[in-house]
Amino acid sequence: MILTLLILVPLIAGIFSFIAKDGAKGLALISSLVTLGLAAYISMAANTASLSWTMQWIPRLGAQLSFQADGMSAMLCLLTAIIMPVIFISNWNKEVEKPGAFYGLMLLSQAGITGVFLAYDALLFYFFWELALIPVYFLCSRWGGEKRIPVTFKFFVYTFVGSLMMLSALIYLSLQNTGVSAYSWQNIVRAGASLPAVQQQFLFWLIFIAFAVKMPIFPFHTWQPDTYEQSPTPVTIILSALMVKMGMFGVIRWLMPVLPAGVAFWSNTIIILSVIGIIYASLIAIVQTDLKRLVAYSSIAHMGLMSAAAFAQTNVGLHGLMVQMFNHGINITGMWLIVSMVEQRWGTRDMGKLGGMAITAPKMAIALVIISLANVALPLTNGFIGEFMLFNGLFESASPYHITFMVVAGLGIILGAVYTLNMVQKTAYGNATAMTTGGDITANEYVGLAIVIGLILVLGIYPKPLLDMTAGFANMMIP
């Protein structure tokens, strides 16, 4: 029941905040803090036993309202629950048009995302998958930049095509089952795993495309930089910190166990795509001048590594992936917070026009440097643990090309340093030319950044809680 609360709280708060208008901000914050508490409880409880809750829904189809939280779900729910208050806090003094709708949609998307992470029924999963998308679409299109309409529409159609493909595969799989729980995870897994290899290989793509678009994996990524660029920053955070995790989550929950033969057959291909994506995105990030685009491409590169490690199918890689999903969410949130502060204060994201943040806003510059270092996976920041384990997993994969994969993927950390340091250099260093006005971070931004940086350092130095939380899941998936 507590699992449903995790979804219901933001859902109901979201609906109410449409009416609440000016009070929406507070409502959103309260709701997000409540969910944080719930998520914290669940992640502690999920350590020992997985929680679940099931109810009849559509007996005709065999779909149930079924939620279950294991290590991965709990971890991702916790991430969601942490990110949302951070967003709300750091945007506290920012005026948005129509706050009621804005915060309402934010909360609805939170409900959707949480639902995705908890759903243990294929149809329910699909429902939440879309429920998470629609509010984000509205948020981007309503509050985004000047080219927001075509861009977010592209994003929407892109992901919509993906999810429809997934839907067809889910239908196919569910038909292998009968009875009241035809869509339950266990039954879908059983159905998928018992299919002949050829069918699995075919279905693999149908499902994978949905996740690949969401993550995004090269070459399904082109919606992403545009969308990140045009979205308002709180939404960009949701997109990049949480929604990309939905893709990764999907791969692990709804693809790998479901179509083992398909995954085995295509894993090398996907790893190659992912690795290409790492290099490709990193190279492109190097020549970006827009801060948001740069971070967007950097995110593609990071997701490439995660997906490569996921398909390497090793225990340590998977465990690292769990850690890295969390950490990437935290880091990129920090990154966007900074980007939004820059944009808000100096009115531009063009790195050519920025410079000297370290003089005018030293606190922000320090935060930027720390977050950037986490972004390049410097040891003792949280980024390192995950990346090390991911590389380890990739290296240990059974593929004959495992060393090549790892080394080429590793080039990404060099290129990552190139573009990240470029960014730091161009924004934080140099003389304050354009960035003369605007003060340092305000109190609420300070809190937001402090949470992010605190997590970066704490989890970088002492990652054990996170590792413990997800160890059981990783061992269950790949002993």
């Binding site: 429902f127 879309e130 919509f160 839907l167």
Partner: protein, 459 residues
């Protein structure tokens, strides 16, 4: 059976009411009352009919099962909703308000026949009873040349397709010697009589015409566009859904065993319908015309149910019919409030009428098939049925790709309402009553999308 009698009687009552009543308002109120009564009759029928075997009437002319009854009830319900939402607008079409409502009752009679016919003759009559009032309604706005054009086009093509329908029936009769749809005996299972095949093909084309499947769809945009909007709303929803049921009844019940002979063809038709409907809708400037094309596209999805020939398909058809009808009626009700039917006419509606815009969004999302709305469940069921059938997975994927295209033109409405600057002008004040009924419609849409079981429990 009671409903057929009731609707006929109510139709006649309304005709005469037109002579007595002086005020349009009272006529439409009477119509609504009668429709509610009709709904009551339907429910009465539903409740009193035992859930066991279907009942036959009049020497097997009609064969009424619970499915048909439930479908009739739902369609009548949709009609009630329709009358509540656009009743006011019907009054504005012309002077013969009583006649219009009477025709709607007669159309309902056709609907009831089509859901339960057991004889080709009843099919023929049903389709004619369904069509002739539509020709008239399409041309009812006599001040408007477009209306006349719509009527003429509809009439000419409709009669033409009647000819084809009859040829099909005749050839089938030639092959089997009976008009009874459950009595068809197709000889030689391996080498089926070409007469039968040709008959099935002619029927496929004629019924395809009624449900506006490509390449027989060409009348749809023009007629829906030209006809007075309140009547378009009805034609595109309840009428089309019942034509589909007739289609399905024939092909599933009678020709199911021959499906290898026609499935491929119908699959081609389905693909063409999806393609043409979705593709053409993309370029439209008028929302009304877009809805016409979208109805073609939606027909493509309903054809999946016809194709699938299984139990799920029946449920899918039912859900689809209701979900699609409710959302489309809602959409048309909104459209009727607008002064300008183009996309630009919707610009900035969200600012002016946030509630109306919200309702529109729900309808649009449903039409686009987004989860939590009826449209999704409907699509889901028919696709499920098609996949269950086994050979149509390619078509399912194609259909889903087309659904993605459909998002393009549906979302343009949302984009116009929410994200574009503009001053959407309304035709008339949106009253509280309007909002209430629109809200009810929305709730229905969401209910179908979340608890479809509610609508399947009775069959």
């Amino acid at each position: 059976m009671k409903a057929i009698i009731a609707t006929t009687v109510f139709g006649i009552v309304l005709m005469f009411a037109g002579l007595v009543a002086k005020e349009k308002r009272s006529i439409s109120t009477l119509a609504i009352v009668l429709l509610v009564a009709l709904l009551g009759v339907n429910i009465w029928d539903l409740v009193t009919t035992p859930a066991t075997a279907p009942q036959s009437f009049f020497n097997n002319m009609l064969r009424i099962d619970r499915y048909a009854l439930w479908f009739n009830t739902l369609m009548t319900g949709c009609t009630v909703l329709y009358a509540l939402l656009v009743g006011k607008d019907i009054e504005k079409v012309g002077v013969h308000v009583a006649e219009y409502f009477a025709l709607i009752f007669f159309i309902l009679c056709g609907v009831y026949l089509l859901t339960s016919y057991n004889n080709m003759l009843m099919l023929f009559l049903g389709i004619e009873i369904l069509s002739i009032p539509q020709y008239i309604l399409a041309g009812s706005d006599k001040r408007n040349l477009k209306s006349s054009e719509a009527a003429l086009k509809y009439f000419l093509m409709g009669s033409f397709s009647t000819g084809i329908l009859l040829m099909g029936i005749t050839l089938l009769y030639g092959a089997t010697g009976t008009f009874n749809i459950v009595g068809f005996s197709f000889l030689q299972s391996d080498l089926v009589n070409p007469l039968a095949i040709a008959g099935i093909l002619f029927l496929m084309i004629a019924l395809g015409f009624k449900v506006s499947a490509a390449p027989m769809h060409t009348w749809t945009p023009d007629v829906y566009d030209g006809a007075p909007t309140p009547f378009t709303a009805y034609m595109a929803t309840v009428v089309k859904a019942s034509a589909f049921l007739a289609f399905m009844r024939l092909f599933s019940v009678s020709f199911g065993s021959l499906s290898s002979h026609w499935m491929m063809l119908l699959a081609i038709i389905t693909a063409a319908t999806l393609l043409v409907g979705n593709l053409t809708a993309v370029f439209q400037q008028s929302v009304k015309r877009m809805l016409a094309y979208s109805s073609i596209a939606q027909a493509g999805f309903m054809l999946f149910a016809v194709l699938a020939v299984n139990a799920t398909a029946w449920q899918g058809m039912l859900i689809y019919a209701v979900a699609y009808s409710v959302a489309t009626i809602g959409m048309f009700a909104v459209l009727l409030k607008m002064k300008d039917y183009t996309y630009d006419g919707f610009n900035g509606l969200a600012k002016k009428e946030p509630v109306l815009a919200f309702f529109t969004t729900i309808f649009i999302l449903s039409l686009a098939g987004i989860p939590l709305t009826g449209g999704f469940m409907a699509k889901y069921f028919v696709l499920l049925a098609a996949v269950e059938q086994g050979q149509l997975f390619w078509l399912v994927i194609f259909g889903l790709l087309m659904a993605a295209i459909s998002a393009y033109y549906y979302f343009r409405v949302i984009i116009a309402m929410y994200f574009k600057q503009g001053n959407a002008e309304l035709n008339e004040e949106v009253t509280g009553t309007d909002k209430f009924w629109l809200a009810v419609t929305c709730v229905l849409v969401v209910l179908i999308g979340t608890v479809p079981q509610l609508f399947l429990n009775n069959i």
